[in-house]
Symmetry: C2
Subunit: 360 residues, 2 copies
Amino acid sequence: MRAHVTKKTLSEGLGLLERVIPSRSSNPLLTALKVEPSEAGLTLSGTNLEIDLSCFVPAEVQDPQSFVVPAHLFAQIVRNLGGELVELEITGNELSVRSGGSDFKLQTGDLEAYPPLSFPAHADVSLDAAELARAFSSVRYAASNEAFQAVFRGIKLEHRPDSARVVASDGYRVAIRDFPASGDGRNLIVPARSADELIRVLKDGEARFTYGEGLLSVTTDRVRMNLKLLDGEFPDYERVIPKDIKLQVTLPATALKEAVGRVAVLADKNANNRVEFLVSEGKLRLAAEGDYGRAQDTLDVTQGGPEPAMSLAFNARHVLDALGPIEGDAELLFSGSTSPAIFRASGGGGYMAVMVTLRV
Amino acid sequence: MRAHVTKKTLSEGLGLLERVIPSRSSNPLLTALKVEPSEAGLTLSGTNLEIDLSCFVPAEVQDPQSFVVPAHLFAQIVRNLGGELVELEITGNELSVRSGGSDFKLQTGDLEAYPPLSFPAHADVSLDAAELARAFSSVRYAASNEAFQAVFRGIKLEHRPDSARVVASDGYRVAIRDFPASGDGRNLIVPARSADELIRVLKDGEARFTYGEGLLSVTTDRVRMNLKLLDGEFPDYERVIPKDIKLQVTLPATALKEAVGRVAVLADKNANNRVEFLVSEGKLRLAAEGDYGRAQDTLDVTQGGPEPAMSLAFNARHVLDALGPIEGDAELLFSGSTSPAIFRASGGGGYMAVMVTLRV
């Protein structure tokens, strides 16, 4: 086999695969990249057993022949090449990688032993790739990386007839984003770490879904991905969304982020980074206290709702996370000092964070 | 005491001190910043017992009164402030930091217990600050961070009547930079880690030296610094600089850096990242080999000297380090396959790296 491919397209494809393929593994086969050439180009694929990923790279190919090579080493070599065009050639058990004055010989691996990866040919439904990526990105922070309960390490996707919703929660907070969708989809839970990789490969165009047994396959024009899904019952998060809003404040999200970041410097790390919110007379006063001193910051807000004043406390880290996806003005909806609060973008946009308050 | 200072100048001063003052220490006093206000501004100082650093920040001050505060916390608070102007006020044992809508109260520390720091008032000689910083930066890589022998963890400064030289070595390589100087200076060895901090505070203007007992004090218009010096005899590095050059090649330093970086991907980490250099007929061929394959790269060079060809081997890491300070064309001077080699900038500039060869 001999192939000619531009360094840029090959590097981009390898960059996606490198994130999925482990650089070390107790099963060394998993550290390999599988390359399946055809007349039109190279199909690069790899797996970490949670995610299978495959990516097509246009190339000029003669005598197509599949092979496996150490993924990270191959990617590093290609990235460092001096020329624009890369020549790949298989001779016996060796892959030659040539470009400019460089000539690399890499031992190829055992193709037969490599686990078979298969991707479905048909699609059940499709979603807008950019919307889906933005939705997953917005709520990702609320999923736990360590929680004992698996569903708290996942992101739920609810696909309704006319809209879709992603939800993540670690039991202390819920993040939700609604976005337009059509088609007859299913509800499912994607592991948050797999969602991270999905976000990275989704760009424009369509994300075509194929439902499998405990498996979701996502296909775009560039890549194909199989994701193992999480089993289990996602908690009934609707129940914690407060309905009875007693006080509402609106202020620029950036100003609030900066002020919370400031006072949090003195917040007690051993007491949930507690920051107090005191609202009254069109002012939001933030206060924090720790071993080294105390801090306060006062912001002007637009205030509404039946209650004239309220005092609440939050984990500063959680407040900053919740504000992350909000641009422009933020709306904070309070239902009481000991009830959950809603943070959302003023004027809608589909995103909402629900947070428990700390005891006052 | 009450002081008004711009956030920018105060942040810059604190930034310098933050690098020296430890964030944790078995002696918590050392984590403090000492602030000595005068009518003209604030003198910020701190120490890690290897380096004392002091920095003047212009400010408007009323009722000057010295105090100590947790350095890193104070710096973080100032950096995060929203306003341009910062007000500092001491009331009892509390420092207030105010700006825009923010008001921080920090507990001050025990001023009496803080170690006394003194900086000399006179100067013995002076050097150009920018030249000195560039010289230290160029040779820093060759000093070891772990070597058992203390002098290998230092950078030697030789101050001659009409020039100065800095030298660093870890026993396998030597880096040298000469630069213009005048005055009657001494030879001394600065710990490499202290040189790192010195590089950071030196900008334009003069670096005024005052020699103390095992101590060098460096004063610039902005800062004053005491550095503990290293004792001991620096090795006779002149002896390893090859005089009898048998083959010389010239090529663009960047092309060589890139090519060495490329082939080094396959070099054996357990065999000194060995890269072979083969020179003949106006070509430099680089070759490396490891568990996963082999690499070669060919570069055009301008070749000179009595020998028509030579084969040598180097540690790729050391080659890349040695080329670091070289811009434009690099000159490689070879005295034989088993003798040290010189890498320097073509056309002079005062920088030279001497490297041992690996066994062929």
